[in-house]
């Protein structure tokens, strides 16, 4: 098992990819997931985070099998 990481919209273009897979023991929180996948790049201002399709903050704990998503502020409607 591992953590599935997804990027959307401008953040996907910023990362140059739509998703990543991370070994679960490499990160304990959403913020640590970002640090691993971005190689310690600063998270763009206003980035939103979700675990398993629910909004969370960067300090939220992640576990094996989670889907973690990063994306910019939403602009639908």
């Amino acid at each position: 098992m591992s953590i599935n990481v997804r990027y959307f919209a401008s953040l996907r273009e910023h990362m140059g990819k739509a998703d990543d897979r991370l070994e679960a023991d490499l990160a304990k929180t959403v913020g640590e997931v970002w640090a691993c996948v971005s190689k310690d790049m600063d998270m763009p201002a206003n980035t939103l985070c979700a675990i398993n399709m629910e909004y969370v903050d960067a300090g939220h704990v992640v576990k094996d099998g989670d889907e973690v998503a990063f994306f910019p502020p939403v602009t639908g409607g």
Binding site: A9, P72, V74, T75, G76
Partner: protein
């Protein structure tokens, strides 16, 4: 009922069709409707087209949640959200929100709440095609 769709749709035909199959005919005295359409201008620039992206699964989940939250505050009989994704042209409908209730106050309040929450919480993103190049919309206007 929530529909996320890629095809161009006529909001009034959608509403007529949906309303015809409602099971509570004679019970509602109010229908509040909001239709959002694509403008051909934004931030002082001509906008020629738009691409709307979403997060399949999370978007539907949050729209369901928004409808439930509205219903808890202003009980109603039914609500419909239709939202377009994919490639969109000026004058195309982007979103329809409709609420049916016994009296107008709940229909007005619930539809307003659903629309405002959709704008601020549901994971959709717009990318505009301009005369030269394209850009992501960074925040929604009111």
């Amino acid at each position: 009922m929530i529909q996320i769709r890629t095809d161009r749709f006529d909001p009034w035909a959608e509403l007529q069709q949906y309303q015809q199959q409602l099971s509570f005919k004679g019970k509602y005295g109010a229908t509040a409707v909001f239709v959002g359409s694509m403008r051909d201008f934004n931030e002082g620039d001509e906008v020629r087209a738009m691409t709307l992206e979403h997060y399949p699964g999370m978007t539907e989940k949050h729209l369901e949640k928004i409808i439930q939250q509205a219903e808890q505050q202003w009980p109603f009989l039914d609500a419909l959200i239709v939202h377009r994704v994919g490639n969109i042209l000026p004058d195309d409908s982007i979103v329809v929100v409709a609420v049916w209730s016994a009296h107008r106050a709940n229909a007005f309040n619930a539809s307003r709440y659903i629309m405002e929450e959709l704008k601020s919480k549901a994971p959709f993103w717009k990318k505009e095609t301009l005369a030269q190049g394209s850009r992501w919309v960074e925040k929604n206007s009111s």
